[in-house]
């Protein structure tokens, strides 16, 4: 069996990748620029010097009775201040403020800025008539992270496409063989954590406002005081998107008294926004007609904050969907750290190959010297070794999900905008766009289908192998203890084999080709009886004395692998590979 391998990285593919990256960066820069442009006037106030101002008048304005107002609740304020030796009057709370749909906030502001009080305001040094009581909230700048991710990803893609990499080994003859330098574990871990952290951040960005904050309020509201609320107006609010889908909300305005002071509230439940399902909202509105007196709950620490229904709304559970992204992100980061640390621990044994640096610990250090010509007695090779697969299932799943989400999100957006939306609105689709999207769509579909496959594979039983001794030797018997963890009852057949492969790499000019040839294959286990598969066992391995030790130099290698397959009906099979070492003959046992 010969497998010819080579790699190609042509200028054409680099240009293609660069165009893709530039489109990405273009999106990010365009949207980031638009956001920044709208935010700039507000954030300029951070450069205005502060001064004292006197609140002449402040009031809560309720315009909910007027139909069609998007922000019916407003905070109006009038204040005086001195700037550049002259007296001025101001009435701006903050740049861009024109009220809101929440009745509590303006009432809180009235309490914060009562008439006759002194407050800090910020005056434009270039035009003292421009003044604000409050500067823009800097946390809003975090939204720029979204376009920044696109730009950052594009830059990274361009860098990786066009940047250099050191040749993995010197071409031509070498007097001293050099093993392939391994990628720094720190870099591997860093890249993995960075990739998964994007998932986690995105997940948290949606999870917190949609689920976490409302859920926290629900819990807090258990200690709120009851009050009598008089319904002033109630209606089912309809909201339609530009795609025509309608959602509904319960729009209420009610009054209540706390300590002799009358407040206005409009919060029905803690879950904000609107959702589908008109009938449930109609029923709620029907029970809360204007003039009705009902029970509401008021925050004892802030009487402006009240709610009619302080329970957990069923729709709130949908807010947990972003949790999946957080789990994938955090789980992926943990898996990367664990896998990197485990790999670093194993290097002590796996570095026993010619030319590799010696490991630091005991037997492994002695074994590491073998390849360059060791003399004297070999060290004890009786240590058992637990074999670990080259890549865990969750790592495979994480990679698959990451790629599938990214590609499907991108392709889906273009497909919706270019094909489905025009069809829905009765327009015509662009033939060019459709043609271009077809191959991408097929790729996206394949990636999508691979996710459930990998997800199913995550729940596969996993082989646990222990080799005794941990390093094989020609002509010497060894033992393999094996068992599966997880739902082993689903396995119908288990097979374990060992393979020895010689691998030769040839470089001429810029191209490099590697050929592989399997010179030894031995099946050491074929199990079909359920009790044997479930319980596992211990098998003897007979290693022919004609075999050679593992060998690794710049261009030529002899590699041994143990392959485990487990057949599962109507489910992805178990397929794992473990690299094993073959020591030279003559060791003490």
């Amino acid at each position: 069996m010969r497998i010819r391998m080579g790699s190609a990285n042509t200028v054409g593919s680099k240009i293609g990748t660069s165009i893709f990256a530039l489109i990405f960066a273009g999106f990010g820069i365009f949207f980031g620029g638009m956001m920044l442009r709208t935010m700039l006037p507000a954030f300029a106030t951070w450069f205005w010097p502060p001064t004292d101002c006197t609140i002449e008048d402040s009031r809560f304005v309720d315009s909910s009775a007027a139909a069609g107002k998007e922000s019916p609740f407003n905070f109006e304020v009038h204040y005086t201040y001195n700037a550049q030796g002259r007296a001025y009057k101001g009435e701006t709370y903050k740049i861009g403020y024109s009220g809101g749909s929440d009745a509590a906030e303006p009432q809180q502001l009235v309490a914060a800025y009562p008439p006759g009080s002194t407050a800090r305001c910020y005056v434009d040094p270039k035009n003292p008539t421009n003044v604000v009581l409050r500067r823009a909230n800097l946390w809003v700048l975090l939204v720029l992270l979204f376009p920044a991710v696109f730009v950052g990803f594009a830059v990274l893609m361009l860098f990786m496409t066009w940047s250099s990499g050191s040749p993995s080994s010197a071409p031509g003859n070498s007097l001293i063989p050099l093993g392939k330098p391994a990628m720094s574990p720190g870099k591997t871990m860093g890249c993995g954590i960075a990739a998964f952290s994007i998932f986690a951040i995105f997940g948290l960005a949606f999870l917190i406002p949609i689920f976490a904050v409302p859920a926290w309020r629900v819990l807090q509201a258990r200690s709120w005081h009851e009050a009598e609320c008089s319904i002033r107006s109630s209606a089912v609010g309809g909201h339609s998107s530009d795609k025509g889908a309608a959602t509904y909300s319960v729009d209420l305005v009610y009054s209540y008294e706390v300590d002799g002071h009358t407040y206005t509230g409009n919060r029905y439940q803690f879950m904000t926004g609107s959702s589908s399902g008109r009938s449930a909202k109609e029923a709620a509105v029907a029970a809360l007609q204007p003039g009705t007196v009902t029970r509401c709950y008021v925050d004892p620490a802030d009487p402006t904050s009240a709610v009619i229904d302080r329970g957990f709304a069923p729709m709130m559970w949908f807010g947990l969907i972003p949790l999946l992204f957080v789990v994938i992100g955090v789980g992926g980061m943990v898996a990367v750290v664990v896998a990197t640390r485990r790999g670093s621990r194993q290097q002590g044994v796996e570095q026993w190959l010619p030319g590799m640096k010696a490991a630091t610990s005991g037997t492994a250090a002695a074994i590491a010297d073998l390849g360059l010509g060791m003399r004297g007695a070999l060290p004890e090779l009786s240590e058992a070794r637990v074999l670990e697969p080259s890549q865990g299932p969750f790592a495979k799943l994480g990679c698959t999900v990451l790629i599938a989400l990214f590609v499907n999100g991108l392709v889906g957006t273009f497909f919706w905008k270019g094909v489905l939306e025009p069809m829905q609105t009765g327009g015509s689709t662009d033939g060019c766009v459709t043609l271009i999207l077809i191959p991408f769509g097929l790729l996206a579909l394949m990636l999508l289908l691979s996710v459930p496959y990998q997800l199913l594979a995550c729940f596969n039983p996993r082989p646990r192998l222990e080799l005794l001794p941990g390093v094989l030797q020609p002509g010497k018997a060894a033992r393999l203890r094996w068992h599966f963890t997880g739902s082993t009852g689903r396995l119908t057949r288990v097979a374990v084999s060992i393979e020895g492969t010689e691998s030769a790499t040839h470089r001429v000019g810029t191209s490099s080709t590697t050929s592989n040839s399997v010179f030894w294959r031995q099946t050491i286990l074929e199990a079909t009886r359920p009790e044997e598969i479930i319980n596992g066992g211990e098998i003897a391995i007979s290693v022919p004395d004609s075999l050679v030790p593992s060998f690794d130099s710049s261009n030529n290698k002899v590699v041994y692998k143990m392959k485990v397959t487990g057949a599962i009906a109507r489910w992805p099979d178990v397929n794992e590979e473990f690299e094993i070492q073959m020591a030279p003959e003559g060791a003490r046992r």
Partner: protein, 154 residues
């Protein structure tokens, strides 16, 4: 060696060219040069040939001192345990003793076999006999093979 100038050569004792690991290689290096060399050394090395680019590993170097233009010197080198001489379809690994003189760069090389029993190992495709059996027979035959291996291990 002949009487021509600038020559270097290696003779192994008993004309042996096959050794087991940890055996001592003994021999003589002789040279005849125009003038006294600045350095003469013996190197024990392995090298690969085949479908891949050549790799070379110098395992031991024995330099000689107090050099004259013509001389004979004895050397002894212990053969290492690994890697053994082997040949497969893609890679052959061979051992050699090499003598070089500087500054002229005169070189002599003698190929050796260093392997258990002095016999080069062959990587010939070993077909697992189980592969040819019907699937239903494989578990039973596999168990017999394991029983035999356990007996061998004792």
């Amino acid at each position: 060696m002949t009487g021509t100038d600038n020559e270097i050569g290696i003779e192994l004792d008993e004309s042996r060219f096959a050794f087991s690991p940890l055996e001592t290689l003994r021999g003589t290096v002789a040279w005849q040069l125009d003038r006294a060399p600045t350095a003469v050394e013996i190197r024990l090395l392995w090298y690969t040939t085949g479908k891949g680019d050549q790799d070379v590993g110098v395992v031991e170097t024995v330099p000689f001192d107090t050099l004259q233009a013509s001389d004979r010197r004895r050397f002894e080198i212990v053969a290492p345990i690994a890697p053994p001489s082997f040949s497969g379809q893609l890679i052959s690994l061979q051992w050699a003793i090499e003598a070089t003189a500087s500054p002229g760069g005169e070189t002599a090389r003698v190929d050796l076999v260093i392997a258990p029993g002095g016999v080069e190992k062959r990587l010939e495709l070993a077909v697992d006999p189980l592969d040819d059996l019907p699937a239903s027979m494989k578990p039973m035959v596999s168990k017999l093979a394991q029983w035999a291996a356990r007996r061998q291990g004792r």
